[in-house]
């Protein structure tokens, strides 16, 4: 069962190009925040999402490395059926 509260992949609707935003992150952080336009805050959010995506990927790689026996290929996950029936969530799902 999927973990509905855990979203390791940052929003696909990333507000703007995260690469562009990451470059200017430190500059934006050093500015008076009251002078920052919405677009500039969007850049910060996009850069942070990019950082999160990299971290999530790194975690997955580390978990795969530590679990997989030497020489084994990581298993491919089955594609999700968009028409699958909705499953009632349990407390366990909330905590995953």
């Amino acid at each position: 069962m999927s973990a509905p509260d855990q979203n390791p992949n940052p929003s696909s609707s990333t507000l703007i190009s995260s690469e562009l935003a990451e470059d200017s992150l430190s500059v934006l952080f050093s500015r008076d925040p009251l002078s920052l336009a919405n677009k500039e805050i969007e850049k910060i959010v996009a850069a942070l999402r990019s950082q999160r995506a990299k971290f999530a990927l790194q975690e997955i790689e580390e978990k795969t490395k530590s679990k997989a026996p030497k020489g084994a290929k990581p298993a491919k996950s089955a594609p999700r059926d968009p028409n699958a029936p909705k499953i009632t969530l349990s407390l366990e799902d909330l905590l995953k």
Partner: protein, 317 residues
């Protein structure tokens, strides 16, 4: 007997003279830990000159997430509400008077890790199956202040109050949960969640929740954030409080509130010298280690005066 005198408590709405009448979990916790530490922190109103980065970080983290919850309740999209929360974190961690950011000497808890943790938390729980409760007045149940009668009275019949703030009330599978957000530098594992049972703060919240919302309150859900230099990792855990457990906690609260009145009446605040080394060392250790007559002078150097008014303040330390 300590040589220190209480600060001027006239403007502190939680006090009547030297006696605290409105108690939050911070005050109760300090009293239980060490009556003298409680006296210095709450009654005398003394704080280390360098405000705890943990307190500042915690307040800004909670308030930024609250900004998100409020924006969402007003109909904002996840992205728009995230921008509100990040803007809040940036603006409130910037000193407008000095025109510079909040400077923290802590490599884990600083402005950059604050903003990152807020943004990452919101994406982590973007599709949270636990929905924020919307109150009858249409407002989201976030940073919910409570003020209830404790069921205990002073010797002259004054009711003693319990007060505080709940981070968020959420609904999941037709049950109501108190959602509390915690930050830590440590790795989050089962031990992390086990340390909340027993725990004074969570018992206070669960007790207040049960009094206010009755049996609808199922328990507490803790959203823990491990703040590291290069990442923030999140984990959810459940903290349970049974009816019998809370009854016992409440009975013991009566004992502690009675002790506080007795200490205040006598002006006698004994130190619990078995807790001096807890939580990385008590900030008042350098004071308590001096001769009583010398303490006031030593305090002037490294400490500053502040007022802890549970009916107004927000935060835990």
């Amino acid at each position: 007997v300590t040589a220190l005198q209480p600060a001027n408590l006239t403007n502190n709405s939680s006090f009547r003279g030297p006696l605290q009448i409105a108690w939050d979990s911070t005050s109760i916790g300090l009293l239980k830990e060490c009556p003298r530490k409680y006296f210095l922190s709450i009654v005398h109103g003394v704080a280390p000159r360098s405000e705890s980065v943990h307190l500042t970080f915690g307040i800004l983290y909670h308030a930024s997430l609250e900004a998100y919850d409020r924006a969402k309740a007003l109909g904002a999209s996840h992205d728009a509400a995230t921008i509100e929360a990040v803007r809040y974190a940036l603006v409130h961690s910037w000193d407008q008077r000095l025109k510079k950011p909040w400077i923290s000497d802590d490599k884990y808890k600083n402005r950059e890790t604050l903003v990152r943790s807020v943004a990452w938390y919101l994406d982590q729980f973007a599709t949270d199956p636990m929905e924020t409760i919307i109150l009858a007045n249409g407002k989201p149940a976030v940073e919910l202040s409570f003020r209830i009668e404790s069921g205990y009275y002073t010797q002259d019949g004054q009711p003693l109050l319990l007060c505080g703030h709940l981070d968020r009330l959420g609904r999941f599978n037709d049950q109501i949960w108190i959602n509390d957000r915690k930050t830590t530098k440590s790795q989050i594992n089962q031990d992390f969640f086990e340390k909340f049972s027993p725990d004074n703060q969570f018992s206070t919240y669960a007790f207040a929740g049960k009094i206010t919302y009755g049996d609808q309150i199922t328990g507490l859900i803790v959203d823990a954030a491990q703040i590291a230099v290069g990442f923030t990792r999140f984990q959810r855990g459940v903290v349970e409080r049974t009816e019998a457990f809370l009854e016992e906690w409440h009975a013991e609260l009566g004992y502690w509130l009675g002790q506080a009145e007795s200490f205040a009446a006598r002006g006698f605040w004994p130190a619990n010298d078995k807790s001096c080394g807890n939580y990385g060392g008590c900030p008042f250790r350098s004071i308590c280690s001096k001769n009583p007559s010398m303490r006031q002078a030593w305090m002037k150097g490294a400490f500053t005066q502040r007022m802890w008014d549970p009916l107004k303040n927000r935060g835990d330390f």
